[in-house]
């Protein structure tokens, strides 16, 4: 398997009852690229990504991560291999501050008299450093997430994923609920992450987002891959054509 690919999925199929959600789908994510994954509702985008993240087990097909064949039985397996998926519901703790969210599940602690105390100072310092490394504009790691905008919450979720040493980031419709300005800030963050070497798959309905910051865009329709286009030589119409009509050879 080619080492230039962070992820390779080969012949992934998945059936839910009578519905063939995915039919022998291939996907290659190059290292350090931002790949858009687009398609109509029920095209299989989320199912494909959940398969990659170990949240859905495929009926057939193979997955290679950094050139190694991966047996993904659950998201924890995927996380161990450097994957992180940020779902639309984010799974952040609104009642906690930024640092607590960034360090969820791997808190720094100190044991004193058998009691596990939080090393808050270290978590504040490190999350502040992380935020500034990612150029995320959140004024203090002590801010409560419930006081933040939708875009900032997304960024906290991203910071958490990167803090877990994720090198492959899957984002499911991150801009869907955001205003234009916030969406743009988030897109900036994604291209910044890409420039820092993170490989990103972006599921989205907003094709223009992918065309503005993405490297390539993959189109799914009816659970089948219609093609992968280079963003540089593609127009909005090209992508929309594939989404609606499918492969130009008429098989779609």
């Amino acid at each position: 398997m080619s080492i230039e690919h962070a992820v390779e999925m080969r012949g992934i199929s998945k059936r839910f009852g009578n519905v063939q959600a995915l039919n022998r789908v291939d996907l290659e994510l190059r290292r350090g690229e931002l790949l858009g994954l687009v398609g109509d509702n029920a095209a299989g985008k989320s199912t494909l990504m959940k398969t990659l993240y170990g949240a859905v087990l495929p009926d057939a097909g193979e997955i290679f991560i950094e050139g190694q064949k991966a047996a993904l039985r659950n998201p924890r397996d995927a996380q161990a291999l450097g994957l992180a998926m940020i779902y639309q519901d984010l799974a952040v703790f609104n009642n906690l501050d930024v640092a607590a969210n960034v360090f969820t599940g791997r808190e720094y602690t100190r044991r004193v008299l058998g009691i596990t105390f939080l090393d808050k100072k270290r978590m504040y310092n490190e999350s502040e450093a992380l935020l500034s490394r990612l150029r995320i504009n959140i004024s203090s790691p002590k801010l409560l997430v419930e006081r933040m905008s939708g875009g900032q919450r997304q960024m906290v979720a991203v910071a958490r994923a990167i803090g877990f040493d994720a090198t492959i980031l899957i984002m499911d419709e991150p801009t869907a609920a955001l205003g234009v300005k916030e969406a743009n800030t988030l897109l900036d963050l994604m291209s910044e992450l890409r420039d820092q070497g993170i490989s990103i798959i972006l599921i989205t309905h907003r094709i223009s987002d992918v065309l503005s910051i993405g490297d390539r865009v993959m189109v799914l329709k009816g659970g089948e891959r219609q093609g992968i286009l280079n963003v540089e030589d593609s127009t909005l119409e090209d992508v929309e054509y594939l989404i609606v009509r499918g492969r130009p050879d008429g098989s779609g």
Partner: protein
């Protein structure tokens, strides 16, 4: 690249700190407490007597101690309605261990606390492992604990308790009543637990977003058991302090404790839906309720207004909370929402 590089970020972080302070849920109730206190202090000469102020503190101490446990439970997204019954059972077991088993008072007290821990542990297991709904489940176990209490005491009181058993409730440490010291110690330790330890963070996590907590892979069951066990322990401690306050061991001890306890937590800003709450807030909540009750006495109003005032304060606290969370606004109240 560091956040402190530019001079403006320093000012921003100072401003953020002010915002942070203002955002503290306790700020509002604390202000209410101060205003209430100042008004009463000015209006009533009886109120401002040191003896009266100490009385208020003594009156709220048991409520506060037990309410610290309730706060922990509510922050985790549950309720413990069996606290009053645990307090009563623990108090009676303590008295009986001294009277019938002939144990020294300190040993009897440890036995009573052990009963509280056991009751709380049982609640925790039923809530966590058997996934029973905490409200109805603790209502039921509370009935069981009360029943056990009356069964083993046959409903009879134990009078003439030794100093060793009543000291927590009526003893002095220097000039200060022991139970006031105990209240502040419990409040301090519980505050540290909730805000500074991994356990406390886990409690706030499962109360704030249970699903995400499970996804992170934390042991939610064990944390729940720990929470209810601690609640049982503090209920028992409250019950044993009550032995000293009352002077005799009455089986109905602890009955009527639950409402002021829940009230203190709610008035203190603990979010009913879980995830948010503080020991300082609960202490303030208990103090507001204590001053309200005391005001009725020193202003020579009818003491039977107490329940009405208490009930209305809870309703008010709930309303304020709904407003703050944006669940409620004037449009909804006036029926113009659609």
């Amino acid at each position: 690249m560091t956040a402190n590089q530019t001079p403006t970020t320093r000012g921003e972080s100072a401003r953020a700190r002010v915002r942070e302070l203002m955002a503290h849920r306790e700020s509002g109730v604390f202000l209410a407490l101060v205003i209430f206190f100042v008004v009463m202090y000015t209006v009533s000469p009886i109120f401002r007597r040191p003896f009266n102020l100490t009385t208020i503190l003594r009156q709220i101490s048991v409520t506060s101690i037990v309410a610290m446990g309730q706060t922990l439970v509510i922050v985790s997204g549950a309720f413990d309605l069996s606290q009053g019954s645990i307090a009563g059972l623990a108090a009676m077991v303590t008295a009986k261990l001294w009277k019938n088993a002939g144990l020294d008072p300190p040993i009897a007290i440890i036995g009573g606390l052990g009963v509280g821990v056991l009751c709380g542990f049982l609640n925790g297991v039923l809530a966590a492992r058997f996934r029973l709904h905490p409200i109805v489940m603790t209502l039921a176990t509370g009935a069981v604990f009360l029943g056990v209490n009356f069964y083993i005491t046959r409903g009879e009181s134990i009078i003439g308790l030794p100093d060793g058993l009543t000291w927590l409730g009526r003893g002095l440490i220097g000039p200060v009543p022991a139970l006031i010291v105990l209240m502040f110690i419990v409040a301090f330790l519980m505050h540290i637990l909730l805000t500074r330890t991994l356990f406390g963070l886990r409690v706030r996590m499962i109360g704030g977003n249970l699903k995400a907590s499970q996804d992170v892979g934390m042991n939610v069951e064990r944390i729940r058991v720990g929470i209810f066990t601690l609640s049982g322990f503090l209920s028992a401690l409250g019950g044993i302090v009550l032995l000293g306050r009352v002077g005799n061991a009455l089986p109905q001890i602890g009955q009527g404790l639950l409402f002021p306890v829940v009230t203190a937590a709610i008035v203190g800003g603990t979010l009913l839906t879980g995830g948010v709450g503080s020991m300082a807030g609960t202490l303030i909540g208990a103090a507001i309720m204590g001053i309200a009750r005391n005001s009725l006495v020193v202003l020579q109003l009818n003491i039977y207004l107490q329940d009405i005032v208490q009930g209305l304060l809870v309703v008010l606290a709930l309303l304020i909370d709904q407003f703050r969370r944006g669940e409620l606004n004037w449009r909804i109240i006036l029926g113009r929402d659609r």
